[in-house]
Symmetry: C2
Subunit: 334 residues, 2 copies
């Protein structure tokens, strides 16, 4: 039995972490929900009881065995050294250490062996990277992947609980004929979509896109994998969808791809052309498995498939993968 | 001055046709709004007056000079021969004749010369094809286009006024905690997205995707252009957005691409990385110009650019292009 801290317990991912720990019967003996000072005085619900939120600060980690960090990269950089010094195993949901060569970046269904090298901190991937790698990994058995061209349809939850709430408020305002005022993201969100709100960097790609490329490469273990990605935000609450064009070094068949997906852990084949039933965010929401389908040959390039992927941003894209990592760390330590 | 018939005058495109004819001061002497028998008794508003809707049937075209058809392919196939026999010039917004080699399929900014061969009927392209060709055509001066990889974010309006209304109703139901019941399209639409609702055909691509590929090739005059497309429906009201990955036969620069777009008719460059301001459906809605931006080099393939495109489905994707075609036909005839 272990003492578990959640830094960022009052956020959208924090709430999912609590639910996933409970559902998967993670052996929590004591729960220490942490957040910024302004949340002190509130409580979070876990296993039918209210747990008071304490301030996330350097001296808060005494006795903590496992600490989940989900409060942004700055908070992770500041506090993870203290959590480590107190002896906690850390699963970090922020981007702070993902590209640190000494920190494993892991999706358990894809690169579980990478955990072996950890030094007490394991990074949980960006939500798009987690969802895409679990979908693409089964296909790597069909041939060497030569290139990915990806367009995303990302939900509000990737920007946090406040963005989800703002989407609902803006939409209600739009329907009522009131002025729509964006309060969290930069652009109007009600019945609108836009290029991902992260800053555009020197190469013309935004921060989200550059993360996705770097993390896909690290998780898949393909340091030079050519990837083109466009990250878009759409008015969806909590599941990310993506179109994936995947080019191989040899001929591939739709049938073999479907079989590989159907046989893999962490994904579910949803591919019924007759019923026009393919992965959709409303069906991916609340599901542990990432939905994969619309598998078809790309007529414009040899050895290439098109896919559609949809996965819950808060589960496989965040909390579920984090708890899976904690489970794997504990299993390896015992 | 001419007598103008609109078949499908009570639909979403019909309403836009009336607005565009009025705004562009098309020389309408007499307006004959037509629709199915059940709309007879209703009126449409044009230039401040109500015009009674008459039934669209074989003998309704006497005296009509220009007929816009926007009531589906079956209605077009049935009635266009009668409109032609009565001497009307026909602009057909349906898919009925688009791939007929004897019928020009035209976007005036892209292939105006194709109009020359018409025999009284000109086809107005599929909305995605119109929006994409006007965006891509300026770039063909940079080099020969070798391949396009496209993912769309298509609005409700492409499925008609009832689908737009259903998106609003479903969204209100969702916000109120009521059950969401799809009444027009197959899948839930409120805070959801899905693979385009047209039937999936033998090649694994849906009807919309196969139309887009065939029409892009015909309009661009590149019969064998390799195109990969995924058409998705998103909860947006009236503008279509698309990501476009475009590969050339030679090196291209972002600067040259931006200049070509900025100099072209029918498109507007919206490309401000610093402000994270790129094409969005809320800004494309109601605009004649198609918005093009996020121009950047694709690091995963030589000679390749990524773009983002957003255009009003009811304007350049339908009514505006149709009226432009009628204007061009009249100019050529005079």
């Amino acid at each position: 039995m272990v003492t578990v801290a959640i830094v960022g317990a009052t956020g959208a991912v924090g709430a999912e972490l609590l639910a996933v720990l409970e559902r998967r019967e993670f052996p929590v003996e004591r729960l220490v929900p942490m957040a910024s000072a302004r949340s002190v005085g509130t409580t979070v619900r876990f296993r039918g009881a209210d747990h008071p939120v304490v301030e996330a600060k350097a001296d808060a980690f005494a006795g903590v065995d496992v600490a989940f960090f989900s409060a942004g990269a700055t908070r992770s950089r500041d506090l993870i050294p203290h959590a480590r010094a107190a002896g906690a195993l850390v699963v970090d949901n922020s981007s702070a250490f993902r590209m640190d060569p000494s920190v494993p970046l892991v999706v358990p269904e894809v690169n579980p062996d990478a955990l072996a090298g950890h030094d007490g901190v394991v990074a949980n991937p960006n939500c798009v990277a987690a969802i895409l790698t679990v979908a693409v990994a089964p296909l790597t058995k069909l041939g060497h992947v030569e290139r990915l061209v990806i367009s995303t349809y990302q939900s509000a939850s990737g920007a946090g609980a406040r963005a989800m709430e703002d989407l609902l408020v803006q939409t209600a305002d739009h329907l009522a004929g009131r002025e729509v005022v964006p309060r969290v993201l930069r652009h109007p969100f009600a019945f609108n979509l836009f290029s991902h709100d992260s800053a555009v960097e020197g190469n013309g790609y935004n921060g989200e896109e550059n993360k996705v490329v770097a993390e896909l490469r690290k998780i898949l273990g393909m340091a030079d994998l050519p990837v083109s990605v466009t990250c878009m935000r759409v008015p969806i609450l909590r599941a990310h969808t993506a179109t994936v064009n995947i080019e191989f070094d040899r001929a591939v068949s739709v049938e073999a791809a479907r079989e590989a997906i159907a046989a893999a852990d962490g994904v579910q084949l949803v591919d019924d052309p007759e019923a026009n039933h393919f992965p959709m965010p409303n069906e991916a929401s609340g599901k542990d498995d990432v939905l994969v389908g619309r598998v078809r040959l790309d007529p414009s390039r040899a050895n290439t498939l098109n896919l559609l992927v949809s996965g819950d941003q808060l589960l496989k894209g965040a909390a579920l993968n984090a708890v899976q990592l904690a489970e794997a760390l504990r299993a390896a330590a015992s």
